[in-house]
Structure formats: structure tokens, C-alpha cells
Point group: C2
Chain length 278, copies 2
């Protein structure tokens, strides 16, 4: 692991790191914020998964998470959203597929299967790296994210309730199998057999019996993707049917941007911290 940069911020250290990933076959860049409490021993880890087009950097710059992470004493890990580089197959003019659009799955279709494996990259390889390199208490992990990253957080939590004690999302893609901006990507990554898509779809996972203690979702009512790509009601219906408590906050007038995310960031970190406390 190579350190790209570190800077003191809100009493902790915001770092950017790079390593050669065996899972994606590419160098991968990620950011980690370590709060001051880590000087006294390992602290909980909160994973933040970003949305389409983003890298590790967008939420690091615009997410306003460090004040709350320092107040509550949690590490924040912000991975990239896809493999990148010259050897990685991509569609340059398509922001909903390829670079910046890994959809937190393991592709099975050629030519994507070799690189687009963000699911295993995060839950296996990067998890092991964080455990090895940072003052992280891996017995206390939470996960959240935005949009495509909200989808990533919900699906990873549903598949690993043993590992993640808390999960929340900002404007998540609740059912990517049926949303216009994600269906084409799922087909290219996973093939035409939609049975394979269910492992990467929060609503389908719940229908198939996966459970989680509770979810927090914030969603802006002025979000241009609200009724097309996101559709929080689908998650609300699935949770209600499954008996999963869901706190769904519809935020009047907020859009899909970091201006929205940053507004409710401290609330989400407090939600996680309360569930990650010993």
C-alpha cells in the first residue's frame, strides 16, 4: 500500500492510498479518515460507497463527514466506484457503465469479468487491507452510501449481517434490476439471465429472505431520479413485508447532490455510531 497524501483535519488524519488489487487486476485508490480516538486503540469502521461517476475523492471533498467522524470516533473508508485504467474495458461516453459505474458486483461476462469485481474487492480484499493497515476494530463495521453506493451498501449489508452492524443510504437505487439506468449495466456485467441479478438488488434480496436489523434512508423530494432510478417506496414496501424497520426520511426540496448528502451526513454517522458502540 502506497500513501498518496495525508492531511490533518478535524483532529484526525485524512489519507489517500493506492494499492495493486489482485481482485480487479488494477491499481486501486481509496481514502481513509482516521479520527483522533484511534490513538487510544482500534475504532469502528464505517464504509461509504459513492455513486455513479464518482471516485474516492468526491465525498472526501464534499461530504462533510470528518466533523461527525471525529465526534463519534469512527474510521471512514471511501473506496473508488470501479476499476480504472488503460487495460480495463470501458464505454467512454456512458456514465452509467464501466469506469465510475462498477455497481458493487462481480461481473461474470466477458470482457468485464476480469476487472469489474467491486463486490469482492470491497468485502474481501480492501477489508483485509484496512484490517492490516489501520487502527480498525473490524468487529464493529457499518456501511452506507449514495445512489449506486446506497445500492451497494444495502446489498452488502443484507448479504453480510454478521459483519455489518449498521446500514444507511442517501437516495439509494433500491431495485437496480428494474431501473432504466442500471438494467443495461447489469445485463452487460451479469448476462441476460436475470436470476443472477437478484444477488445485487436490495428489494430482491429481501424478497429472497435476506434480513437486516434496520435501515436509515434519506431521500430528497427534488431529486430528479426519485421516481425513475431510485424509487424508495419499493424498499419501503419490501421492508414492511419483511418486517425490517426502515426509517425513510423524505427531505423536502433536496436534490441528488452532495449539497443534500452533506446536510444529513452527521445524522447518518450518529445513527451508525449508536449501533457500533460497545
Amino acid at each position: 500500500m502506497e500513501t498518496i497524501s495525508t492531511a490533518k483535519s478535524h483532529g484526525g488524519v485524512q489519507g489517500v492510498y493506492r494499492h495493486q488489487s489482485a481482485v480487479t487486476g488494477t491499481p486501486m485508490t481509496f481514502a481513509v479518515f482516521v479520527p483522533p480516538q484511534a490513538a487510544n486503540g482500534p475504532v469502528p469502521v464505517l464504509w461509504y460507497l459513492s455513486g455513479l461517476t464518482c471516485s474516492h475523492a468526491n465525498v472526501m471533498e464534499k461530504g462533510e463527514y470528518r466533523a461527525a467522524a471525529s465526534a463519534h470516533g469512527v474510521i471512514i473508508v471511501t473506496p473508488d466506484t470501479s476499476p480504472r485504467g488503460e487495460g480495463v474495458p470501458d464505454e467512454k461516453d456512458n456514465w452509467q457503465f464501466g469506469s465510475g459505474a462498477g455497481f458493487y458486483l462481480d461481473a461474470t461476462q466477458e470482457p468485464y469479468a476480469a476487472n469489474y469485481r467491486m463486490y469482492s474487492y470491497i468485502v474481501e480484499e480492501l477489508t483485509a487491507l484496512i484490517a492490516a493497515e489501520f487502527p480498525a476494530d473490524m468487529s464493529r463495521q457499518g456501511i452506507f452510501g449514495h445512489s449506486m453506493g446506497g445500492h451497494g451498501a444495502l446489498t452488502m449489508a443484507l448479504k453480510h449481517p454478521d459483519r455489518f452492524a449498521s446500514c444507511s443510504a442517501f437516495a439509494p437505487i433500491t431495485e437496480p434490476s428494474s431501473a432504466d439506468w442500471s438494467r443495461p449495466a447489469l445485463e452487460k456485467y451479469l448476462g441476460v439471465d436475470q436470476a443472477a441479478w437478484r444477488a445485487y438488488d436490495a428489494v430482491a434480496l429481501i424478497a429472497d429472505g435476506r434480513r437486516f436489523p434496520d435501515f436509515l434512508v434519506d431521500q430528497g423530494t427534488a431529486d430528479p431520479f426519485l421516481n425513475t432510478g431510485l424509487r424508495p417506496q419499493l424498499l419501503a414496501d419490501a421492508c414492511q413485508k419483511a418486517g425490517i424497520p426502515l426509517t425513510l426520511n423524505l427531505r423536502e426540496g433536496y436534490d441528488h447532490s452532495y449539497f443534500f448528502i452533506s446536510t444529513f451526513m452527521a445524522d447518518h454517522i450518529a445513527w451508525h455510531a449508536s449501533r457500533l458502540a460497545r
Copy 2:
């Protein structure tokens, strides 16, 4: 004035606007955050001046000012740092002069005098525009900034103590007349006669008799420009000699970046709010 974008954030509205400036002879872009309290009547205005290479956007994205601005009910105005555009003389490869480096002065030398007039642009033209277009109580204004913008804030406050009730700075250039990264710019903008530079130099202005009620300055001790371009001790000495109370916080381990600025942003906004309260 044209509205480029608006987004709800932290209960208020973050907008980006553009207008044709008669002072700089160019279109100028700026950002304004209006807190929710403005719905009940005009609120104080806090000007934030940015540093070298920045536009209005950097602090808007990375400054983390909206939570505190909403908590205290102040408008935040973030202007650009220079005129820009095809007809504006510039030195493309020089980040310490020209575009992004207006130094908050009115140039008197050709070919810069026609466009590089950020001093008059801010204290006259943009001030009038803010008064006309936003729910601003112009009888309650404060000013702060970072690095070159800290210089701008200190000098504008010293020259207009009638207008600004509060002034603070993050890592300000305290004496641009003698700092390596600003001397060449002052010479090109203002000419070789250094008497003209004193109107744009906080330490010189204080030596020449200008006064202000008090200043707040935060400075990181790991700032790479600390002992060359910035030199807070020069300001501390000038303030002590003049009897101006200065709160100078040396922040252990912090650098010159927005990771530093954002850490102490809420403190600064609280400082201003207490002085702008009725």
C-alpha cells in the same frame, strides 16, 4: 444577474450566479449561501475571499461552511479571485499572477488596469449587487478568507472598519509587499513604486494608522508556506504595536489545505456571528 444553479443545503439555498461586471469588464461568477433565517427578514452578510488558484467553487465544495451559516443565520458570499476570459491578460503558467491571482487590489499598470480590479469589484459592485438581489442586512457585514483571501479580508477590513464589523483569516498572507509569491504580482499590477503597495498590505496599513476592533487568525504549523509567504508573526507584531487585539491560533500539524480550513470554519463563523448579532 443570471442564476447558474441553486440547491437546497443545510436548510438554506446554495446558489451560483453570474453577472457582467462593469468594473472588471468581464462576466464574473460568484456563489451565495442564504440560510433559512432569511425567510423572516434580512440577515448578516459574511464575505469569504479565497486563495490563489481558486474560483468561487473551491470553498463552496470543500469549506464546510453551510452547517454553521445555517446555525447562525448568516449569508455567505464567495466571489471569484480574479477576472477571467479570453480578453483578459494573463500568464498561463504562473499560478501566482493573473487568473486566480487577483490579490484583491485595483491594478494601475498596463495591460492589467482594465480588468484586474478585484478590490473595487468586491467593495463596490458586488456589494451593491448583493444588497439588491439577496435578503441581506448590509448594516451587518463581516469578512474572512484564506491565504491570498486572508490578505484580502484583512486589508478590506482595515480600510472599511465602518462597513465590516468582524474580520478573520485562515493562514493569511500578512505582508504581501515582502513575500516572494506576491511581490512580483504587486509590481506587475501596481508598478515599481512600493508606496502604492501599502494600500494592499495589512501590516503596512496598520503601520500607517489603520485600525480594526479585533482579528481572529488560524494558522497551521505544518503549512508549507508558514515562514515564507504567510508569516503570522508579522501581523502579531503589528497588532501588538497598534493595540489591536489579535487571537492567533497556531494549529499543530495542520497544513494549508481545505482540510485545515474546514476544521476551523465553524469557529470562525461563530466569531463573526457574535460580532454581527444585533
